[in-house]
Point group: C2
Chain length 384, copies 2
């Protein structure tokens, strides 16, 4: 019945995007070395820096966010060096895989999926293996809906003099992330989540301690992702070393302007409200949250699939109503479904999502009071 409209993407990337971004994508293309484009590129980098409140380098890589993750490890970790991989979901697991791809030695701190990392277990690992040089972590673990206490982890990393490499792909632009103040050394993020445009650009922030290591390395086993090339090219010509995706940069520029028109603080608070509404609605229906609530993500919520309800049928029914949700990944693939509340998400999107969720649950025989989720969300939104 809703098929005339595009699907509402309540998945953790690509996100539904604003009409202004479509218009930016369709703007007549220009050369990537024109004065006009280089100015726009420079402004885009400045605005990206403003989102994470930094004066340090941010580079734009044409590619997925995974390209930016790959760049972090390729440029820093030498073969045989030890990396403490905090693994608590698919994306933090990816850090471990990339570390291995470059001959680094991952020392895995296994955290139960759906839980945040605990300070004491981190310290214990660092005490027990003094050869650890790096720590990798996923700030907002998209696969489980957990937001790790990154500021505290940054303090610990600095106390123990470790290099902290952070995947902030699904937090930057939707939640607080301050790599300088929080003692990160490398942060990676991407275009297609809370920064509001389609996939195709990865971003990497590099702090001074990370540069020290990169600059000392004689041999960096990558060409396309060699950060020295990105730095040299940006300082010399104000653009990336290889042809970037012009329309995506134009779109990112537009989206960053929209972020500051709304106000970053307002935007983050909006994400938090939508996340809270989602959790309140889910619980009111009688659904269980997968992630521990104290560390619940503000950009994506993971919900357990109720016993006896086939996950595929649930998601298909919801999609027929015009809303795209997604299941889990890897070991929890069928166990959960996820509602992402990123970018342009607002009250009406939460209502549509929950209407579709409730109707689908009802059709599939789940026992709950129809309207109870929506009702609870209304009560949450009413006083605001």
């Amino acid at each position: 019945m809703l098929t005339k409209d595009p699907l509402l993407l309540m998945i953790p990337g690509p996100v539904s995007i604003h009409q202004r971004i479509y218009e930016a994508l369709a703007r007549p293309i220009t050369g990537h070395r024109t004065k006009e484009f280089i100015e726009l590129f420079g402004e885009t980098v400045r605005l990206l820096k403003k989102v994470i409140d930094t004066e340090n380098d941010v580079f734009v890589i044409a590619g997925s966010s995974t390209a930016a993750m790959d760049a972090a490890i390729a440029n820093l970790v030498s073969p045989k060096e030890k990396v403490l991989s905090i693994v608590q979901g698919k994306f933090s697991e990816r850090w471990r895989e990339i570390t291995e791809a470059y001959g680094g030695v991952p020392v895995v701190l296994d955290v139960e999926w759906g839980k945040a990392v605990r300070e004491d277990s981190l310290i214990e690992m660092l005490e027990s293996d003094k050869d650890i040089k790096y720590i990798t972590i996923c700030h907002n673990e998209t696969s489980t809906g957990i937001l790790n206490p990154a500021e505290r982890i940054g303090q610990i990393a600095r106390e123990y003099d470790k290099i902290l490499i952070v995947d902030a792909v699904t937090s930057v632009g939707g939640d607080y992330v301050y790599p300088d103040k929080w003692n990160f050394d490398v942060l990676v993020t991407g275009s297609q989540k809370c920064l509001g445009i389609p996939p195709g650009l990865g971003y990497i922030w590099v702090g001074p301690r990370a540069w020290e290591i990169i600059n000392q390395r004689e041999f960096i086993p990558s060409y396309y992702l060699n950060l020295k090339s990105y730095k040299k090219s940006f300082e010399k010509d104000g653009d990336p070393p290889f042809t970037t995706s012009v329309p995506l940069v134009v779109a990112q520029n537009e989206s960053l302007k929209m972020i500051f028109e709304e106000g970053l603080e307002n935007r983050i608070q909006r994400h938090r409200r939508m996340a809270q509404a989602t959790r309140i609605g889910a619980k009111a229906i009688g659904l269980e949250l997968f992630a521990e609530e104290e560390y619940a993500s503000n950009t994506v919520t993971a919900i357990n699939v109720p016993e006896g309800i086939p996950q595929k049928d649930l998601l298909n029914n919801i999609q027929k109503l015009g809303v795209l949700l997604t299941g889990g990944q890897d070991r929890i693939k069928d166990k959960i479904f996820r509602i992402a509340h990123m970018n342009t998400v607002q009250e009406k999107d939460i209502f549509l999502t929950f209407s579709a969720l409730e109707l689908s649950l009802l059709k599939l025989g789940f026992s709950f009071v129809p309207g109870s989720g929506i009702g609870a969300i209304e009560q949450f939104f009413a006083p605001q």
Copy 2:
């Protein structure tokens, strides 16, 4: 005076694109794992294969064409292995740089810039160093406007049992390229040249002899560009292993459909006609072609900047008239200027380009008969 219109991009990428592509870019985004998108992705790969007449694997990498070049070397060349790098311009030089980045040993066959590679000098190199395992070449050297005799080079490579790695970034979609029939082992290309969309996607074709090598390698020093992951993901799920750029894939799908609506043969002949017209016009004005004409590229023409004419002023004047051309690169940066005739290029674009070129030359005091270039081009087009 033409500023109300977008610049006509007569540069070798990004190219001016068709209105249908802008509309495709602005189509409502969908999830990259939806059935709908995976079908479109599969069709896009099939159409890409059709352009180069192959049944072998073609993979789509979110990134610049350089990412695809990087993937070729990273996946094939082990440290210490010898690669015959045919260097005759900036992009063939890039193969040498990437080879070094992965610890390969480039054996350089230096070809004068603006000349095609000669069969005898290639054979001589192969005879003189039996340890050479790979050959890298740029099919259409964009920096000099040379089209190498790739079919003949393929024969030689096969006779000597070498693995041939070809950059066909600026030939695929605008000229004949048949990796199977021509005995290539790897071919890379990109989205933003004759395939008609903006930059942001790289493509890599991998033949069976290359797969043999890749499959035997235990350790591939890349994560994002590991071709085994691309193969595995495509065979399992029909999509790339990492989030691809949804709107660019949608645009590429549309552009490929347009290529076959026009007819690939018609399209190639159109590119050839526009290239010929460009050479005829340049010579009629009294300009000198940089590349030897027997091996002149059909997608980009390099022209010597006439003595006494400042290149920057020439290009700026032309840009003021609504046409973007570009200079040279590296050692011939100021010596030449280039007119690319790619993608949607047609008669009217050649006329506008030459009107702007003639007027600018006239203003800068170059001595020629005004209208002579245009006149010669008219005479060339008239009988067609």
